[in-house]
C-alpha cells in the first residue's frame, strides 16, 4: 500500500538531510514567523500604552512561572535523553525518559491552569486591558503548542512505539523530529518568560 519514498530514513548526499528533518525545520521556520509576529505586536502595543503592562506584570506570579520554566527545560533534556536511549538501543530507558517528559508537560499545563484561574477568577480577563490580552493570547497559543506536543509525544510513547520493532531507524528519526518541535516550544517559552513576566 505504501510506496517507498526515497530518503525517508537515509540522508540524501547533497543536502545531508532525511525528509522529515527538513520538513520539521521548515515548519519551525514558519512558527518562528508566527511567534515573531506576536512578539512584534507585543512591542508595538506596549510602546503605545505602557502603563497596563507595567501594572499587570507586577501582579503575575513570578516564582510559579520560574518553576514552570525549569519544568520545561527539564522536559527538554529528558526528551534528548530519550532520543539518546534509542540510539543506544535501550528501549526501557526510552520509555522512562519519555515518560518524564510527558509528566513534565502535564505539570506545566497544570501550573498554567492555576495561573490562569487566579487571574480569571479575579476578573482579569483578556478583555480587561491590553496587557491581559497579550498575556492570555501569547501564553495561550504557547499552551496550545504544548498540548499538540503532548498528543504527538504521547502517540510516539505508547501506540507509536510499535514501529521500533519493524523500523528502528525510522522510529529514532521520528523521535528526533518530534524532539526538534518540543525544543522549539521550550525555546519560545525561554523568550516569553522574561518578556512577559520579568522585563
Amino acid at each position: 500500500m505504501d510506496i517507498e519514498i526515497p530518503y525517508n530514513v537515509d540522508e540524501r548526499e547533497d543536502t545531508g538531510l532525511y525528509n522529515s528533518k527538513l520538513g520539521i525545520w521548515l515548519f519551525l521556520a514558519s512558527e518562528i514567523m508566527l511567534f515573531g509576529a506576536l512578539f512584534s505586536s507585543y512591542i508595538i502595543l506596549r510602546l503605545n500604552d505602557p502603563l497596563p503592562f507595567l501594572q499587570g506584570q507586577a501582579k503575575l506570579n513570578v516564582p510559579l512561572a520560574t518553576l514552570n520554566t525549569a519544568i520545561l527545560i527539564l522536559s527538554s533534556v529528558t526528551f534528548v535523553m530519550s532520543w539518546v536511549s534509542l540510539k543506544l538501543k535501550d528501549i526501557s530507558k526510552f520509555r522512562i525518559y519519555m515518560g518524564i517528559t510527558m509528566l513534565c508537560s502535564f505539570l506545566f499545563l497544570v501550573i498554567k491552569y492555576f495561573e490562569y484561574e487566579s487571574k480569571l477568577s479575579n476578573g482579569y480577563t483578556p478583555a480587561y486591558n491590553n496587557f491581559y490580552a497579550v498575556y492570555f493570547v501569547v501564553t495561550g497559543l504557547h499552551a496550545i503548542h504544548i498540548i499538540g506536543g503532548i498528543i504527538v509525544n504521547g502517540y510516539l510513547w505508547l501506540p507509536g512505539l510499535k514501529m521500533w520493532d519493524t523500523e528502528p531507524e525510522r522510529f529514532t528519526n521520528r523521535i528526533e523530529v518530534a524532539g526538534l518541535y518540543w525544543h522549539f516550544v521550550d525555546l519560545v517559552w525561554i523568550f516569553v518568560f522574561p518578556s512577559i513576566y520579568l522585563l
Binding site: 519514498i5 527538513l22 486591558n129
Partner: protein, 556 residues
Amino acid sequence: MSSDNHQESFIRKYIFSIDHKWIGIQYGITSLFFLLFGFILMMIMRYQLAYNVNTGLEKDIISPDMYNALGAMHGTIMVFLGVVPMVVGAFGNYLVPLQVGAPDMAFPKLNMASYWLYFVGGVVMLASFFIPDQLPAHSGWTSYVPLATLSSGPGQTFWLFGMIWLIASSLLGSTNIIVTILQLRVKGLTWMRLPFFIWAQLVTSFLLLLAFPPLQAAAIFQLSDIVLGTGFFDPWAGGSVLLYQHLFWFLAHPEVYVLILPALGIVAEIIANNIRKPLWGYKSMVYSSIWLGFMSFIVWAHHMFLTGMGTTMASFFMITTMIISIPSVVILSALFLSLWGGKIRFNTPMLFALSFLPMFGIGGLTGLPLGLATADIHLHDTYYVIGHFHYVVAPGTIFAIFAGIYYWFPKITGKTMNETLGKIHFWGSLVCMNGIFMPMFLQGLTGLSRRMANGGYDYAHAREVLWLNEVMSISAFLLFAFQLIYIFNFFWTLFRKRYSTENDPNPWQSTTIEWTDATSPPLGHGNFEKIPTVYRGAYEYSVVGHEKDFYPQTEE
C-alpha cells in the same frame, strides 16, 4: 517500486487518497467550483452596478451591505479558495513529483491532510452565506479593523475561522512541496536542469511558508477582539489599527506573488514546448524568481501609502517596490525574447500562454503608478487599482490556469480537449476580459472609488465614466457565456471514449519527465515503471544533430 495488487476501498482511493495525483485532482475540482462560485458573485455585483443605480435603493436587487458582502467574499474566495489552491494545490501537487521524477510527494499523508483542511476551510467560508438573517463577512477581503471588528453579525467570525483552516492547509502543503523538490529529485536533475515550473513552485512555497504566519497572528488577534472582547486593534484601549494592516499586508503582498509565480511557471513550460527551441535566459529567469521572492517581503507597505506614513518610510517602500518590478520584467522579457526565431505552434494552450504575456504586461505596467507614492495619492482605492490587479490575476493567472489545463489534460486523462472549442473559448475570453478591465483604468483615473454599491452614482467626478459600468457588466456576462463552452469541452472530453489517435503519452512532444517517462495517466502509486535518470536540461528543443526536434531530459 510501484504497483501492488492491493484492492483499495473506494474511500481510500477516492476520498482519503494519499496519491498526489488524485489529491491534485481533488484540489483542481474543488478550486474550479470555487472559481465559478466567485465568478457568479461578481456577476451579481456587476448587474447591480450596471442597472440599478438610478432606481433608488429600494429597487436595488441587493442592499449596499449585501454588495459589500459579495465583494469581500468574491475576493476571499477567488484568492484563497480558487487561484492559490489551483496553481499550488492542483498543478503543484500533480506535477511537482512527476517533473522531478519522484514516486509521490515527500509526505503523502500530510498531502491528504492539507487537502482536507482546505476543504473544511472552504465549507466554513461557504457556510457564512447561510447564516440565518445574517450576512457573510462584509469588510473587504482585507478585513481591515475597525470595520471588521465592529461590523454586525457573525460573518466576520466565520471568515476568520475559515482562514485558520486555509492557512494550516497552506503551511502543510508548502512544506511538502519544498521537501519534495529538495530531496526527491532524481539522479542527474541538478538545480539548473529543473523545469522553470519547479523553480516557480519552490519560490512560491517559501513565500507561503514564511509569509502566512503573520496573517495567522492577525487573524488570532482579530478573532480575539471579536469573540473575547480584547483591544488589540482598539485605539481606545491602547491598541493599534495600523498593526492589523502591517500584519495583513506582510502576508498579502507575498500572496500576490504566490498568485503569479506558478502562473509564470506554467506559461514558461507551454511557451518552451510550443516554440520548439530552448527558453532564452533560463538562468536569468531562475535568479529573477529568487530575487522576486526575496524582495516580496520588503515591499508590503506600498498598500499603506495613504495611512499617514512618514516620508522616510514612504521612500523606502517606494524604492523597494520599484526595484521589485525589475525581476518581473526580466522574466517577462525573457519569455517574450524566447519567441524570436521559434517555430511557433498556435494550439489552444499556447494561445492562452502567449496572451498572458501582454496581459500580464499591462497589469505590471499599471502597477508602476501605484507603486509611486505620489501618484498613489490620487489612485489609491480607486477602480484603477481594481483594473491593475485584475489584469494580473484574471487575463494573467487565470489564463495561465486555462493554458495549463488544456496542456496537461492529455497527461491526466489520456484525452486531448477539442481545439476548435478551445480557440473559441480563448478569443471570446480575451476580448471580454479586456472589455471588463480596461475601462476600470479610465474610471479610476477620474478618481472613482472602489467598493461602492452604486458604482459612483453620487459623485460628480464619476458622471462621465458611469456609462462604462454597463459595458463592463455586459462583457462580464459574455465572459461567462464563453466559459460555458469551456465547461462543456472539459466534461465532454472527460467522459468520452479515448480516440485511437490519442495513444501517444507525449502528444505535445515535450522534453520534461512527466511527458516522457510516465503514461497518460501515470501509473497509480509510484508514477514510473523505471526510475528515470536525467542527462540534460529541461528545454533541449531543436538540438543540432539530433533527429527529433526535441531531446528528452531522460533520454540517454
